[in-house]
Symmetry: C2
Subunit: 259 residues, 2 copies
C-alpha cells in the first residue's frame, strides 16, 4: 500500500527543482519499467500491481530496494497519465560526464533550446533508432526528466546518453579537433547534395527561433531540407523532430555500402 510519503515523493518529482535536488526521476508504463529493470539503471522504488510484480523474474525483483504493491486507484493518485499502466518506478539519475574526444567517434546531435517535451522525447527515440548515442542539450532545453519527455522516448534513453552543457565552448573544442559541425537551417546546401561524413556534430535549433546566431557562426556547414511544396504560401518550416528525422536518415543512408 502507498504511504503518504510515497505519494509525496512521486508527486514532488513532477517538479524539475525536486528532480534536480534528489537526482531522482519517475518512469511510467509496463514496457518502459520492464526495460529499465533489465538495464543497468538504478531503480530505487517500484510501484506496481501485485500481479505485475508476480510476473517478473526473481532476479529483477531482488535488485530493487523498495517495492510497493499498489491498486489501480493508488496508481491513479501518483500517475501523470490519465489512464495509468500497471507499473511506475523511481530511478536514480546516471552521471555521464561529457568528454570532448568522444565527439570524434560518430554522430552527435546538439539541441539548441528545444522547448517542447514531445519534441525532445521524439528526438531521443530517433537518435536511438539511427544509432546515435550522444545528444547534447543547451541549458535552454526542456528538462530530460520531464514526464512528457520520458514518455515520448519510448525507452530510448537506455540507449542514448543526453548531456546538458554550454554549447559554445564545445564548438571551440570541435574546431580544435577538426570536427565538422552541421547546422540544420532554412538556408544552406541541400541535405541531399551536401557531403555528409560519418563523424560530425549536427545542430538543431529552437522550435520558433531556430539556431542562435553564435552557434550558426560556429558551425562549419549549413544544410537545409528542400521544400517540395508551395513554401512561400504558408508552410515555412518543418517541426524540429521532423527535421531531425530527415537529417539523421540522410546521414545514415550515406554510410550504407553502395550509397
Amino acid at each position: 500500500m502507498l504511504s503518504i510519503n510515497n505519494i509525496k515523493l512521486v508527486n514532488s518529482l513532477q517538479l524539475k527543482k525536486q528532480r534536480d535536488k534528489s537526482d531522482l526521476y519517475v518512469i511510467e508504463g509496463d514496457k518502459m519499467v520492464r526495460e529499465y529493470l533489465t538495464s543497468e539503471e538504478e531503480i530505487v522504488w517500484l510501484f506496481a500491481k501485485p500481479e505485475w510484480i508476480a510476473s517478473l523474474p526473481g532476479a529483477l525483483v531482488e535488485r530493487v530496494p523498495n517495492i510497493i504493491a499498489v491498486s489501480y486507484d493508488e496508481l491513479k493518485r501518483i500517475s501523470s497519465l490519465k489512464t495509468p499502466h500497471n507499473a511506475m518506478a523511481i530511478v536514480h539519475k546516471k552521471k555521464n560526464p561529457l568528454k570532448a574526444e568522444s565527439l570524434l567517434n560518430g554522430l552527435t546531435i546538439v539541441l539548441d533550446s528545444i522547448q517542447d517535451p514531445g519534441n525532445l522525447g521524439t528526438i531521443i527515440r530517433l537518435a536511438g533508432w539511427f544509432g546515435i548515442d550522444k545528444i547534447i542539450c543547451s541549458h535552454g532545453c526542456v528538462d530530460l526528466y520531464n514526464p512528457k519527455v520520458l514518455q515520448a522516448t519510448m525507452g530510448a534513453l537506455l540507449h542514448v546518453v543526453v548531456h546538458y552543457t554550454e554549447i559554445l565552448p564545445l564548438m571551440g573544442d570541435a574546431r580544435v579537433m577538426g570536427l565538422p559541425v552541421y547546422a540544420a537551417a532554412l538556408e544552406g546546401e541541400s541535405i541531399y547534395e551536401a557531403k555528409l561524413p560519418g563523424s560530425a556534430i549536427l545542430i538543431f535549433g529552437n522550435e520558433s527561433k531556430g539556431i542562435s546566431a553564435d552557434l550558426m557562426a560556429a558551425s562549419t556547414h549549413s544544410v537545409m531540407i528542400p521544400s517540395f511544396g508551395n513554401r512561400g504560401a504558408g508552410i515555412d518550416s518543418l517541426n524540429a523532430a521532423m527535421a531531425v528525422a530527415v537529417v539523421c536518415s540522410e546521414f545514415r543512408r550515406r554510410s550504407l555500402p553502395g550509397q
Copy 2:
C-alpha cells in the same frame, strides 16, 4: 462582445458530432487565421481582439460575414489553448470528392487508423512540405477537425486535401490502374534501396498495430526504414509521423535530378 450563442457555438464545435452536423470547425492562432483569411476558405465567424482586426487589410475584413471584437478574457472563454492568441475563426468545411484517377498523379499518403491528433497534424504538415497534396484517411483515423490536429498542421491544410473513406475499395482501383502501393512496415525492402516511383500510394499504419492485414495484402511493395541502433534491445519502432518524414523525404530525394 461575445454573446451566449457565440460561446455555445464555439464550444459545441469541440465535439466531432457537432462539427459533423454543422459542417463547421474552429481554427486558432494569429498566423493560421490570417492565412485562412487570405485563402479561398469560407470563414463564417471571426473572433479577434479589436487591434488585430484593425490591422487586417479591408478586403479581408469584408469577406467575413460575422466579425466579433473580443477581449483577451473573452477569447479565454472559447479557446482550446491555455494561452489564447489574438484571433479565432469558424470555418465552413470544404467538400472534396475523391476521384480515383487523381491518384495517378504524384504521391498520395494513405493513413490506416492514425489515432494521435498530433501525429495526424504533423503528417499533414510534412505532406505540405514535401509537396504531397492528397492524404486519404481510413474512417478509423482521428477527426481532421480536432483542434489538436489543426494546431499541429500549422496551416498546411490549406495546401493538402484530406479525404476520409474506406481504404480497401481504393486499393482495388489502384490495382486496376496499375498504381504501385507501398506499405511502410517493420519488414520489407530497405527504403534506401527500393525503387521509388514518382506516382504511388504510400500507406502508414496505426501507432501500435501498424497496417491492417487486408491493406498489407493489397499493397504491391513493403518497405522499411532500417534501424542503425540496438533495435532488439528496446527501440522497436519509429513514431508514425517520423516514419512518414523519412519515407517521404526518400521518395522526394529520388525525384531530384542526379539522384
